[in-house]
């Protein structure tokens, strides 16, 4: 294996098409005879469909078909892919999520669809959808998860009167945790909301369903993070059609951040409708619909308590959280507040006793599911807010408090992985160096002096820390299966060596901004010792790629990359047999380097291309060996991977207005080995911006009727270029001990660590000005910060 490309900031191969306007996103695709769909949606969060009058709409020129819930009664609802049962063993409550709400049934969140209108143009479909007259009987609705649990709250599903989907706990017995807390010298208590945010990938979801009658085959073009999973769910659970009769293509996809993992009703409906009509049907969400329908993230209401002994050692952690599921259970929803959240609540601290109590509830809102980090940002937010607040309350230094409590270094090879109180065994970790480096970059001592000076002025300065550990590279199938996943979480890869020695790699991972066409090729080219130009990456098409579980949870390289490594090993193993035959030596006498097999101690060698050609023109060939050089592999990891890091925010708070300015954002991340530093830095930057966004700008606002009242880019604030500073990033490297590349994953780290750092910084600024506040609701709008200083 050479090291020409791995570790280098190779410029991205895929960029050329994007910078010249030649990217091909789903909405860019036009098929012959293609029709356009628009949905009739509930204006109410909770309302019964009394009647639907389509007379006027059906008569409009250009309208091809209108389907309602009665037409699609035979189609199953979109399924949930993860089952988490109640503590007492009762089965998770899983309401049907119907394709369209039929007459007599109730819409359960604003935007729930009652009809799909299909017309010759998008404009006609939109006009006709407006002319479909639905008579509604509006019913009371609830959006807040804590309110939904109260007696008398409006019911989301009649059959589940307490609005509870399931409850769940993890950790040590509560009695032991209670005892630890009772014995603590200091208990820091924080009641807070981890607010609901909207993923807002810049490309709105888009789907085209196309049915080929001659081949009896469906094609779905979809803006998805995982084409094969969509095919599996849509075929097996929704439409009941055989998988080999469905091709799912995920072309260029304009960002996902979790929201494009899930199988949505519109995907199945355009696919189904294309067969009914015999013409392709396209639907492209507008931004307004995206706010109503794309799965949201976070939405926890929490009470957390952390106990310390007199020296500042953590004694125990007690957590009670209500998590919002929305109206239906989305694909991975039940896993997010449980196995992706509860299991991370030890963080990177030695904590003897932990108990987590989760209640997951239905509300009249769109589903909540994984959004960048999925559960781990919520866990980090909880822990890191507690750590900084505890330091302020105990008069300790927040960095010192962390150093004191860090789990000692372990590499997972010479030292075993670290077993937490909450089920996970971390693979490798070395936590102090990231914080040490962060403090060095900050210039901690100078900062505290500057802060004291600033406290005399109208602009307060504050610093906030966050040290996190996360679990990604999901995951061992057996483990997730035991935890309720209804799918495996491995990855597949095929390495097809062409007769000329050029290589096509087929991966089940799916790139929607992550740069797989570059990083995966770097790995393959180095492993084979051939130029990057000789390697092509193919992804996103279920007809060409054998199988795949897609891209989320920072798993592409750790799982998908490992599957590629396995296939390359098989290629080289067979190649060695061919080379040995050609060079008339034993396989054991060969070394492989720089793209050729060499007989040890000689200058006799044969190149990769010659071996490939021999495999396809097997005239002089080992007896009994199959021709060809093409291998598939599936890789199922032995464990999650556990990246960690330290994020530090410096803010300035205007005392008069409460406006916060983020002055510095420092991130020192340890994501294991790095294939392309430029791309890893880019992933960290983007994650930071989203994490900062949650702290300072973003958050849904529902009114008392569960209407989303900030569902446009005019009202829902996301960070813009002039809201952010240049980020200061650095890395430490602790390789993953259990995958062949030693990689851990970098896609979510930025969003996991940054949010509490920013909030902690504002709290720190306020304390420096004499305002000893414990919490400010996110997003920390100027008014909220002003009120925190003036109440």
């Amino acid at each position: 294996m050479s090291n020409k490309f791995i570790g280098q900031s190779i410029k991205r191969v895929e960029d050329k098409r994007f910078i010249t306007g030649k990217g091909r996103y789903t909405d860019d695709i036009v098929l012959p005879g293609m029709l356009h769909a628009h949905f009739v949606r509930s204006p109410y969060a909770h309302a019964r469909v009394v009647s639907i009058d389509m007379t006027e709409a059906k008569a409009m020129p250009g309208v091809i078909a209108i389907y309602t819930g009665d037409d699609v009664a035979d189609i199953n609802g979109v399924p949930c892919g993860w089952q988490v049962n109640f503590r007492n063993g009762e089965t998770m409550r899983e309401p049907k999520h119907p394709m369209l709400i039929p007459t007599g049934s109730t819409a359960k969140h604003a935007g729930d669809a009652v009809a799909i209108v299909i017309a010759e143009t998008k404009a006609i479909a939109t006009d006709a959808a407006e002319s479909v007259m639905v008579e509604w009987d509006e019913l009371p609705a609830v959006a807040n998860p804590a309110e939904a649990l109260k007696p008398g709250a409006p019911k989301v599903h009649e059959q589940f009167p307490d609005n509870t989907a399931f409850d769940w706990s993890l950790g040590n017995p509560i009695e032991e945790v209670d005892a630890a807390m009772a014995a603590a010298a200091h208990v820091t208590t924080l009641e807070f909301v981890n607010q609901r945010v909207v993923p807002n990938a810049m490309e709105p979801r888009a789907y085209i369903g196309a049915y080929d009658e001659m081949a009896d085959k469906y094609t779905l073009y979809t803006s998805t993070q995982n084409p094969h999973l969509i095919r599996l769910l849509m075929c097996a659970f929704v439409l009941g059609i055989p998988e080999h009769k469905v091709r799912v293509v995920g072309p260029d996809v304009g960002g996902g951040f979790g929201s494009k993992i899930y199988h949505y009703t519109e995907e199945a409906l355009v696919t189904w409708a294309s067969k009914q009509i015999g013409q392709p049907v396209k639907w492209t969400s507008d931004r307004s619909e995206a706010f109503l329908l794309d799965a949201h993230g976070r939405d926890h209401v929490t009470k957390a308590e952390m106990g310390f002994d007199a020296d500042g050692n953590v004694m125990g952690l007690r957590i009670k959280t209500v998590a919002n599921m929305g109206a239906y259970l989305s694909t991975f929803a039940p896993a997010v507040p449980t196995y992706l959240h509860g299991t991370l609540l030890q963080g990177l601290y030695v904590t003897p006793k932990i108990n987590i109590d989760m209640t997951c509830v239905f509300t009249h809102t769109v589903a909540v599911d994984a959004y960048r980090g999925a559960g781990r940002p919520e866990a980090t937010y909880l822990l890191e807010r507690l750590m900084d607040l505890a330091a302020l309350e105990m008069g300790m230094d927040p960095a010192e408090l962390r150093f004191k409590n860090f789990i000692p270094k372990f590499d997972g090879v010479n030292e075993p992985g670290y077993q937490t109180q909450v089920a996970l065994q971390y693979d490798s970790g070395d936590y102090a160096p990231v914080l040490e480096r962060g403090l060095e970059m900050l210039g901690y001592n100078d900062f505290r002096a500057a802060q004291q000076e600033a406290a005399k002025t109208n602009k307060l300065l504050g610093v906030g820390f966050s040290t996190y550990v996360e679990a990604c590279g999901i995951a061992p199938s057996a483990v997730v299966g035991a935890l309720g996943a209804r799918a495996g979480l491995y990855e597949s890869a095929q390495v097809r060596v062409q007769p000329t020695g050029k290589v096509s790699v087929f991966t089940g991972s799916h790139s929607h901004g992550q740069g797989h066409e570059t990083t995966f090729v770097q790995v393959v080219a180095d492993k084979l010792g051939i130029p990057m130009e000789d390697v092509e990456l193919v992804h996103g098409d279920s007809d060409t790629v054998a199988f795949g579980m897609g891209t989320y949870g920072s798993r592409s390289l750790a799982v998908g990359g490992s599957a590629i490594m396995k296939s390359i090993d098989k290629v080289l193993e067979k190649g060695a047999k061919i080379a040995a035959h050609k060079l008339e030596c034993a396989e054991g006498d060969l070394t492989y380097d720089e793209g050729k097999w060499t007989v040890k101690g000689t200058d006799k060698s044969i190149g990769f291309g010659d071996v490939a050609l021999t495999a396809y023109v097997p005239h002089v060939y080992p007896a009994g060996l199959e021709p060809g050089l093409d291998f598939s592999s599936f890789y199922d990891p032995a464990n999650f991977t556990y990246p960690f890091g330290c994020h530090i925010a410096v803010v300035e708070v205007d005392k008069e207005t409460g406006k916060t300015t983020l002055k510095r954002m420092i991130a020192v991340d340890d994501v294991g080995n790095v294939i392309n530093p430029m791309i890893v830095d880019g992933q960290i930057h983007g994650g930071l911006a989203q994490g900062i966004g949650q702290a300072m700008f973003e958050g849904t606002i529902y009114d008392e009727n569960a209407q989303l009242t900030n569902g446009t880019y005019m009202d829902y604030c996301m960070p813009r270029a002039d809201d952010l500073p240049l980020f200061e990033t650095d890395r430490r490297t602790t390789p993953c001990p259990h995958n062949p590349l030693g990689v851990k994953g970098a896609g979510e780290a930025g969003a996991i660590g940054s949010t509490p750092a920013v909030v902690n910084a504002v709290i720190d600024a306020l304390w420096s000005g004499g305002h000893q506040v414990k919490d400010i609701l996110m997003p920390m709008t100027p008014e909220r910060v002003w009120r925190a200083m003036n109440n």
């Binding site: 900031s9 410029k11 991205r12 895929e14 960029d15 050329k16 098409r17 994007f18 910078i19 010249t20 306007g21 030649k22 990217g23 091909r24 996103y25 909405d27 860019d28 036009v30 404009a123 807002n200 990938a201 810049m202 490309e203 709105p204 260029d252 996809v253 304009g254 960002g255 951040f257 507008d286 931004r287 307004s288 929607h512 901004g513 992550q514 740069g515 430029m678 791309i679 830095d681 880019g682 992933q683 930057h685 983007g686 994650g687 930071l688 911006a689 989203q690 446009t712 880019y713 005019m714 996301m718 960070p719 813009r720 270029a721 002039d722 952010l724 240049l726 980020f727 930025g750």
Partner: protein, 180 residues
């Protein structure tokens, strides 16, 4: 209604519904799909193109309003060879690649067109100038860090003549009487 405009150097004509937005004309009629639609409130800037040399949001302009105008989209920014292949990328296109100024690529055409407008007015913008100029363009992937770097790179690598090509600022005709 009939519209005539010059898009990326070619004269284009079409008979359109009055309410057709410029972005829909570009995407649907001309199949120039590099110009994207990311929102419905003129907020995100994914649809930014140049009309008569200045950046505009093509989702907030009727095609009819651009009648008679010269439109440049992302597809027309590079220098092309006689056979229509891309000859030389625009320095901003190079800069975005060089500095990893894009991830999913969806906001990228709008970012580049907005940045081209900035560089046509300001030869050496500061980081602050660049961030201010991007206030109408939303990126969800990059945190803007490398977009800022990419534009700085382009400013440093822009040969003067190329810049002049894009220097079309609509200065209003202004008249001031001679000293009274």
């Amino acid at each position: 209604m009939q519209v005539n405009l010059t898009v990326n150097g070619k004269v284009r004509q079409a008979d359109l519904e009055d309410r057709t937005l410029l972005v829909d004309f570009l995407r649907d009629n001309l199949r120039l799909t590099g110009t994207h639609v990311g929102c419905d409130t003129s907020s995100c800037g994914s649809c930014t193109v140049h009309v008569d040399g200045v950046a505009v949001k093509s989702c907030t302009l009727l095609a009819a309003q651009a009648d008679g105008c010269t439109v440049t989209t992302i597809e027309g920014l590079a220098q092309f060879n006689a056979n229509g292949t891309i000859g030389q990328l625009h320095p901003l296109q190079e800069g975005f690649k060089e500095c990893h100024g894009l991830q999913c690529g969806f906001c990228t055409p709008g970012m580049i067109m907005t940045a081209a407008d900035l560089l046509s007015r300001q030869r050496n913008p500061s980081e602050h100038d660049i961030r201010e100029a991007l206030e109408g363009n939303i990126c969800r992937c990059t945190g803007y860090h490398n977009i800022v770097k990419a534009i700085q790179w382009a400013a440093d690598h822009t040969p003067a003549p190329l810049l002049a090509d894009h220097h079309v600022w609509t200065n209003e005709p202004t008249t001031e009487p001679a000293a009274v």
